[in-house]
Symmetry: C3
Subunit: 350 residues, 3 copies
């Protein structure tokens, strides 16, 4: 997208959402404008993070990208936690994971597959991603399986221990993929893409990063404000809103980036965005939120509902099964999208 148009859209939509929040009483209007603003602001935040990462040098930069890549979701979730909407937080974590593994990956694979008969990427990375995804699934299943006989206090302690271990696993993964086994896991297409994308000066990038973060935070608070009323009036459950509405709003920027890369035959980069982002949510954002909740004095545990676990497990298994061989075609994308729609329908009827 043209840069000028992009900035204009960011500013106009943010202003519109501010007007809706302060001067109207329509939750629907507030919700639509704020969602649109957040989608654009999240895109800006992601772009700024990449630029700052570029100037910070390879290692620190890689770390910044890996840590703040899902900053928008993290900020929205923090405001949900502040309001005590734990069910919606967990639903949005679930939704981000399956949104990335099924919707983003599926659309990318279809978009790429319609232009190219077969698209290939580094299978070693695919194998590691599958194992990491399995760890994430295991870590989220264990508390739910063992919960039945545990007191609330023990559930909390166990959640904190598991959260700590997940963050350790994530940090060691960064060390593994960026230091000790950098070459083996590198994807040429992704590297080129990143090299192209840096167009702002160092100071500008940092300024944009700060401003975007502030506005994402402000609009996220507005969004959380209007969302309950909208959901109630439409008869949607908290879990459906979290898993399908918030998750799509928070991830829209990545979605479009991944699809465009696939159409340029850079499916490896698309896979890295989709799978990498869902791993970041499961191994970094989710456990971080458990620790953040302690700051608000309302500890959130890691116990997901069986519906959410089913969705995450299903998403992880089908995505692994399809990406394991390091090659994709349009039909595999169709399978991912069909599973996403089935899950969407099931959550809608809950």
């Amino acid at each position: 997208m043209n840069q000028k148009l992009f900035f204009t859209l960011v500013i106009v939509l943010t202003a519109l959402s501010g007007w809706a929040h302060y001067f109207t009483h329509s939750a629907g209007l507030q919700f639509v404008t704020t969602s649109a603003a957040i989608i654009m602001l999240a895109g800006l935040l992601g772009k700024a993070t990449e630029n700052v990462a570029h100037y910070a040098g390879e290692r620190v930069g890689g770390f910044l990208n890996a840590t703040f890549g899902n900053a928008a979701e993290l900020i929205i979730a923090i405001f949900l936690i502040k309001e005590g909407l734990f069910d919606m937080v967990k639903a949005s974590i679930t939704g981000s994971i399956i949104g990335n593994l099924l919707l983003v990956l599926g659309l990318s694979v279809i978009a790429g597959g319609l232009k190219f008969k077969e698209q290939r990427f580094n299978p070693l990375l695919a194998g590691h991603n599958a194992s990491l995804m399995l760890l994430a699934v295991i870590a989220l299943f264990i508390p739910a399986v063992f919960l039945k006989q545990l007191h609330a206090e023990r559930t909390e302690t166990l959640s904190l221990i598991i959260s700590g271990l997940l963050i350790v696993a994530y940090i060691l993964w960064l060390f593994f993929s960026m230091v000790t086994h950098k070459e083996e896991l590198a994807d040429q297409a992704r590297a080129e893409e990143e090299a192209e994308g840096h167009m702002w000066g160092k100071g500008t990038s940092i300024l944009i990063l700060i401003v975007a973060t502030v506005f994402v935070a402000i609009t996220s608070e507005w969004l959380v404000h209007s969302i309950k009323e909208v959901a109630d009036s439409l008869g949607w459950s908290e879990i459906f809103v979290g898993a399908f509405v918030i998750a799509i709003v928070g991830n829209a920027a990545e979605h479009s980036a991944a699809v465009f890369l696939a159409m340029k035959n850079k499916i490896g980069a698309s896979v890295e965005i989709a799978v990498g982002s869902s791993l970041q949510i499961a191994l970094f954002v989710a456990p971080t939120l458990v620790f953040v909740s302690l700051l608000f004095g309302k500890p959130m545990d890691l116990v997901f509902t069986s519906y959410e676990l089913a969705a995450i497990g299903v998403g992880a298994f089908i995505a692994s099964s399809i990406s394991r061989d390091g090659s994709t075609n349009w039909y595999e994308g169709v399978l991912l999208i069909i599973v996403y729609i089935i899950l969407g329908a099931a959550f809608y009827f809950l």
Copy 2:
């Protein structure tokens, strides 16, 4: 088998089952003769379908084979639905899936493995089959997981949506494997086999197809008539009868074909029959039956019992694990058969 002998057997057994149905009162005798007749008629129906497919040209033919390959099961199931025996329908779907994935594949792999140290087939096909099988498992699990909080009406709607999506997935799979990625998925052995098997003229083939379909339908009604009485007198549960008796009767023709192919070192063709047939049941027959049930005014849902889901999941996982590498040996066949026996014992004791 010699053609003359085959036709003689078909006619004699069908006549016998008619005599048992109209002139005796022994449910046991009726059950045994009708089962034998259906096994032969299903074989004839399969052969006629292949012949008609041959004359219909490659594409339409492939579509016919893929759609009517399990016509016998479909017809039996329709009569069960007419009688409202939904539990037996679902059990027979379960039984067909695990019968193909475990019994047929297991016997083929053992039969081939005793003659050849290692048998190889197209691993790309194996990979896609595994992903499709996973989709089928997911689609059957979702309604059961989400059922707990749903009203009957919503269960029905969700079942219809999922059934529609499965049929879409199946049709796109046919398009993928027969049009856009035909060469990549082709199995040489299978192609040769099909070329050999066409020995009737066009008119004869169509005539046989129609006659066989009519008689399968008639004998299926007789079978459904006697089966409940036989099960009661032997103390067998409806679910055991559906999953192990009806499923074996309905699939016997395919079973023998797959085993003979494996012994001729055409394991790729055996795998295609076994896995292809179970995919057809899960992605086409099962959802079609949901829609068919609407015609009878007694809507059937897609909610399987946890026993059936365990069986289907177990069958899909062990079959995927074993076939994923595109190579088989006798011990892998043993594993499949042992899992089948374990499931049989578990269902028997229910």
Copy 3:
């Protein structure tokens, strides 16, 4: 370890544990000394088995190794059964399986991975191991899934049938891997290692084997005697003690052997010890114990708790996912250890 020092330690620790058992009343002291003695005696027993196997010729030797490789665990479990501590037996089976798949394999992979960037082993063996592990998981899940509606008597019958089938699968696996497909599955490193390890004469080996077995049996009885009291005083549950304390004591000798092999870049041998040992527990030790329990007139079933099944399933899946490609690196070891710690924490809080 120096042989003289090793024998001295075996004798001193065994003597100490005898003194603690007969002359003190401290369950804690008894527990610590007996555990230490069993660790050493189990190591001696394993070494003696390997030596006897060496002299018995390739086939009989391979069979001996495969059957008595977990003799120490088997003996401890028999004494637990004699005391009717079925929950602890099942927990120790669970603990042995996950201890081997996660702790032993994890430590070996890390130890090897810190010295070598990538370690490779026979992927065909890895594939078969994964399929066998899946059979074991299935066999242990089926009774639990189907139990709900079964009477105690039927649970017992089903457990005996499944146990018989598992032993058949195990015997055929030995036949497959040692006779019909010996060359395909051979691991060079493992063969060399075994050739090195035989340093005692034939008669000495048999004598040591007999003496070690007798003392393992005696000390196991002492251990079982003290263990309940220790667990109670520390507030540990029977299931935690079985799964994490007894399992580690019984497997310590194998643990250290596997880690040392990995450090010598013989990761194939480490994998064979870790995965082979857990397969032996699941497919041979567990079903054998079901039959042994009949001798004591207190039939034990194969019904594991959902916690144990979750742990076994999780261990099998992550170990398969990581070893499937026939290559390991340090981070994969980290993942295995993190899953082990998560399970340990979950069991501790039960």
